[in-house]
Structure formats: C-alpha cells, structure tokens
C-alpha cells in the first residue's frame, strides 16, 4: 500500500514517514502544498495524510483540486485546527477522515488501516484468503495460524494481494502501489518477490495470469 504524507513540519514529517514505513507502507513525502498536489495528481496513492496548514498552497485547496481532477484516493486530514467548523470544511472538501494534532501515532495508523480497508471493501481488520490470514493491526501474516516470516517488501506484496484477493492485479499496479516514487520501474523485482513468497506460502495461492498479472485465490484448480 502506498501512502503520501504532506506535512510541512520536518520533524513530524520524518516521524510519520518512519512510522508508516515501519507499518509496511510505501511512503512518499511532500513538504508543501504544491509538491503535495503534484504527487497526488500524478501518483496512484492508496491513502494520503494531508496537513491543512501548508506553505504555498493550503491543504483544503490541494484536496479540492484533487477531487475536481477526479483523484479519488482516501485522504486523512491532519491539522491543529480541530474545531468542528474546520472538520466540516475538510469533510466538505472531500476528506475521508480527520485527525487532530497532537495525536497518537497508533491512532493515525489505525485510521490509515481503516481507510485502506474501506478502499478495498473489507470491513474487518483481519483479511483471509484460504489458510492465509493478514492482521492489519499488527501487520502480521499467518498461515494456518502460524506466523510467516516476511521481509518488508514481501509483506507489502502479500498485503496488497490480500487486500485485493480474487482480482487480477497487474505488475504495473503492484509497482505503483508498493514502491516509492523513485523506485526503478523497469526492474523485475516483483517477479523476484513473488517467487520468494511462493516458497513461504502454498505456491498455488498466488496465481500468474499470463499477460495480465497475478491473482491471490485459495482455489487449486485454476488454469
């Protein structure tokens, strides 16, 4: 899952990025409204954490312009202005959630997980596919109840496939949603990580749909 953090305070930006990377997200950051708007306009993020008080372009304007351009990623507003008038203005501009500063990082992570689940149509914090189970709260994957040891990139890949289980996910989509902006898109890293994952979980769970991409599905008799 790919997250954009738009926050002008360098310390808070660093903390957010660090916490989100630790939680298994691919994270891009922007330090002002214009840069944030550009990234949100051009990159396919799953969730954006957007500060309201930003230099160059305020957060509400950034959000309104994204929505006018049909950018439908889930946006969590992060701001010190926590009056209901600010919340209503933010929600009316197209935000999906609102977190007031100062906040607990765990609360923000929970809100981000909720938005990711909402984006992929999952109501619960735990997502299953056959014997495979993802606990989004703890970022742990289990196979028949036993923990599966994964690197961060492997986790991102299986988590994305679990969120979109049953659907064909193209290689391009995976690259766009699992890696940061400066990742080398031409490499064959995805194939490498799929190969590694197939060694750690039943290989039939990740099906290769030739010419289209991959699909996570518990059935064995797929073509």
């Amino acid at each position: 899952m790919r997250v954009l953090v738009v926050e002008d305070d360098p310390d808070l930006n660093r903390q957010l990025v660090s916490a989100l990377v630790d939680a298994g997200y691919a994270v891009d950051k922007a330090m002002d409204g214009e840069e944030g708007y550009f990234l949100g306009e051009t990159e396919p993020y799953d969730v954006v954490v957007l500060d309201i008080g930003l230099p160059k372009m305020d957060g509400i304007s950034v959000l309104e312009q994204w929505r006018r351009a049909d950018r439908n990623m889930h946006v969590i507003i992060l701001t010190a202005r926590d009056r209901w008038s600010d919340k209503v203005a933010g929600m009316d501009a197209g935000a999906d959630d609102y977190v007031a500063k100062p906040f607990h990082m765990e609360e923000l992570l929970a809100r981000i997980r909720a938005q990711v689940r909402r984006a992929t149509g999952h109501a619960k914090a735990e997502i299953e596919c056959g014997p495979l189970r993802l606990d989004t709260k703890t970022a742990r994957v289990t196979l028949d109840g036993q923990p599966v040891k994964l690197t961060s990139h492997e986790y991102r890949l299986i988590a994305y496939l679990l969120h979109h289980s049953g659907r064909v996910v193209s290689r391009t989509e995976l690259v766009e949603h699992l890696y940061e902006q400066d990742f080398d898109r031409d490499s064959n890293t995805i194939e490498v990580f799929v190969g590694r994952l197939r060694k750690k979980i039943p290989p039939h769970l990740i099906k290769t749909v030739r010419g289209l991409g991959y699909r996570l599905s518990p059935e064995k008799d797929e073509a």
């Binding site: 008080g53 010190a80 209901w84 008038s85 100062p102």
Partner: protein, 460 residues
C-alpha cells in the same frame, strides 16, 4: 416615562418653567393691569376736578358757586362714594360747598396734611369716606382773585376706590384661568415635542435591537443630523467588534497550529519508550496538550461572549455536521436523522453551534448501535433573559449512561470509556460553550434507549 430619561428631563424642564415662570408672568400682567386701571381712575378724577372748577367759576365775582354740571350723576346720590367739595381757604370769601352725595359730611383737606402736589398741581390722598368706604381724593388749590389780592379755594373731587379695585379683582380670575390653561398647554406641547423630537432615538433603539437579534448587521437608515455621527460611530464600533473577533479567532487558530505540531512531534518522538525520563516527558506533553486545549477553548469563548448581531440558522449547520459524520462513520452504517424545521435560528456564532452540535453528534455516533437522532425546535421562556429558546436534543440508541455517569459526563476531561477515540473533552467543551451563552446542558436517558444530550440556548 422613566425618571432617568431624556424625555423626563425635557418634560421636567417644561413643568418647572410652567410652575415658576407662569405665576411670575401672571403677577406682572396683574401689576400692569392694576396700574392701568388706577391711572384711568386718576384721570377720571382729574377730569371731574377740572369740570368742577370750570363750572363753579364761570360766573361773575371772585367767589366760586355751586357748579352747574359736575359730569357725574353719582355726586347726587347720598354716600355714593363720589363727592366734590369747595372750601375757601384763609380769608377767602364764601362758604364751603359740597355735593349732594356728601350730605352734611366734610372731607379732610390733603393740602393741610402737608402732602406734595404732582406736576399737574394735584394733591392725592387715599382715605376713608363718610360711611367707611375707600376713597381717593384729588385736591387742587385755585386762586379766584389775582396776584395782588389772592383768594384761594380748595377744590376736591373724591372717587370710590371700590370701583377700580373690583375691576382689578375681576380681571385676576380670567387671568389665572388663562395662565393655568397656558401652563397645561405648555406641558402638553412639551410632551408632544418630546415624543416627536425623540422619535429618532427610539428608531435607533429599535434598530440596535434588530442588530442584537441578528435581523440587521449595521445601524441602517437615515437619521437626523444631530445623531448621524452617533450612527457612524456605532457602525464603526460594531464593525470593529466583528473584526476583533475574527482576528482573535485567527490568532487562536495560529497559536493552536504553532503549539500542537511541536507537541505531536514530542509525543511521537518518545513513542513507547519505557524509560522513566521518556515517560515523564510523555506525561508532561500530555499535560501541556490538555492545558493548551483548555486555554484555547477559553480564549475562543471569551472572544465570543456577547458578540452582537450574530444569528445562525440551525438547519444548514446541522446538515453540514450530519454530512461530515455520515462520511466519518460510514463503515458502521449508522443512520443519522435530522429533524429541524425551517426558521429555527441560534443567536450566536456559527462556529460555536458547530462545536456544540458536532461534539454531541460525534459522541452519539461513536456509541450508537444503528441510529442517531438530532432534533431542534423553538420554545418560549418566561424567566430567561432571552425569552426565545432553541432546544436541541441529540439521541442515540447506544448503551447510555447511568445517572451517576451522566453527572460525571459533563466534567472536563472525564472519559467514561477509554476504548473510544477522543480527548474526553467533548462534553465539557459543550458545557463550557453552552454556559458562555447562558444556556443549559443536560444528559438524560433517551427514548431511543441510549443517551440524550440536551441543549437549551438563546434563539433568534
């Protein structure tokens, strides 16, 4: 009419004028009239004296005779108060002559009392007549001889003073009546002048009332030149008041941003570090967060107390809150019903209504099973300073609170359940805001089964 009012001041001035000046004017008029009447009386006596001399000395011989025509029939009526008398002085020939009216009485001679004559050589004296009637005597000394052989005679004509005194007394009654009518008329006309003259001030009062109730933003309309500067200054004051509030809100918002971001950084930097130093910093950061929140709320409230001319329609504000909450809680499928007839208005700041309604409705959504209901209505109070009241109820079908919990629920920072997100300040912010509008905030048991949060606020 209030005692401490411009109307009463003007009215009192007119009344004092009427009470003090009109009697003085009456005395003046009476004095002038009396002088005129007595002057006429003296002129009449003078005229009769001249006739008396003329008609008694028109025959041959030095000795005056009984005058042929005295010009006044009352000289013939006994003790009428009108008399004439001719008295030879010193060695002058002849005897004393008197009018029929004097019968056998004799009038005293003023000249013998040493009284001085006026410029017409007439000596005047007020005295009593033969029957005690008040008399005014006019006497002149007439030389019927020549310079070498003078024969002096005292000619007297007396008139009854009751005649001019009655005229003066009779004039005083209609004079007093006329002055009384004039006084009453003056007071009444002052009353009308005050009503008419002060009408623009009453118009100002009505327009200020309209500003307070939110029907108008500024003191509008054309006013008389004397109070036009007042209108200009009041409008400037209202505008300045609104600007100060806006600036204060902006500054408070900026302060919030400036303080809360570093606090978030501190709290996140420490994270879950279990060392005693880190826990101490975390504890102090949490304390600072609560204090910053508390004093920012206070600053906002102080800025809005008694702000004039602010009216907020409840319907659109509540709809915006419902829209935001529906989006925030859409995963839980909570149905938020809003029952608010058109024309229900809150007399106060939109931001404050949003804050109260938003906190209550958000709290209700967190606890509700499936349903939240927001109702707003108007009521009339007979005891409150603002008789028009706005009643808002936010009900949910959640687990609700016990009576004791409901009493605790509106205390600041009191969290009844740590498992729900939030600072625990929502209800107390509502209570503080509500109190700043001199309203009431209660927690009750809801008909839906959960909690019913009720607000009683000034309406417009």
């Amino acid at each position: 009419m209030k005692l401490n009012s411009l109307a009463f001041r003007l009215f009192r001035t007119a009344a004092v004028w009427a009470v003090l000046v009109l009697p003085l004017a009456g005395l003046g008029i009476d004095w002038v009239h009396k002088r005129d009447v007595f002057n006429s009386f003296d002129a009449r006596l003078n005229q009769l004296l001249t006739l008396n001399i003329a008609f008694s000395t028109d025959r041959s011989g030095a000795e005056p005779g009984v005058p042929r025509n005295v010009g006044e029939p009352l000289f013939e009526l006994a003790h009428s108060g009108w008399y004439w008398q001719i008295t030879p002085l010193d060695r002058s020939p002849g005897k004393r002559l008197i009018s029929t009216s004097l019968a056998s009485e004799e009038l005293p001679l003023p000249s013998r009392l040493g009284l001085k004559p006026d410029r017409y050589n007439i000596i005047w004296q007020d005295t009593k007549g033969p029957v005690g009637e008040p008399l005014r005597i006019a006497e002149t000394l007439y030389n019927a001889g020549d310079d070498e052989n003078p024969y002096f005679y005292s000619f007297i004509v007396a008139g009854n003073l009751e005649f001019p005194e009655t005229r003066v007394a009779e004039f005083r009654v209609p004079l007093a009546f006329a002055l009384a009518v004039a006084g009453i008329g003056l007071v009444f006309s002052t009353f009308l002048q005050v009503r008419y003259g002060l009408e623009p001030l009453r118009a100002v009062e009505r327009r200020l009332s309209a500003i307070r109730s939110g029907e108008a933003q500024l003191l509008e309309g054309r006013l008389p030149a004397e109070i036009e500067p007042l209108q200009t200054e009041l409008n400037a004051l209202i505008k300045s008041n609104q600007d100060i509030i806006e600036r204060a809100r902006t500054q408070v918002g900026n302060l919030a941003h400036a303080l809360k971001t570093p606090l978030a950084v501190i709290a996140n930097e420490i994270g879950e570090d279990p060392s005693p130093q880190a826990r101490k910093v975390a504890e102090q950061a949490a304390l600072m967060r609560d204090q910053v929140g508390y004093y920012l709320d206070r600053a906002r409230m102080v800025a809005q107390v008694d702000v004039i001319g602010r009216v907020t329609p409840v319907g659109p504000t509540a709809e915006a809150i419902v829209r935001a909450l529906t989006r925030l809680h859409r995963d839980r499928g909570i149905e938020i019903d809003l029952l608010c007839p058109p024309g229900v208005n809150f007399q106060g700041e939109k931001q404050d209504l949003e804050e109260m309604l938003g906190n209550l409705a958000d709290n209700a959504c967190k606890w509700a099973g499936r349903q939240v209901r927001i109702t707003a209505s108007m009521a009339t109070s007979t005891t409150d300073r603002h008789p028009q009241r706005l009643l808002i109820a936010v009900d949910d079908d959640g687990p609700g609170l016990t009576e004791e919990q409901r009493a605790q629920g509106i205390k600041r920072g009191r969290r009844l359940d740590e498992t729900k997100p939030g600072s625990g300040l929502g209800h107390s912010i509502v209570a503080d805001l509500c109190q700043s509008y001199r309203g009431q905030f209660r927690l009750e048991k809801s008909a839906l089964g959960g909690l019913s949060a009720r607000l009683d606020l000034p309406a417009a």
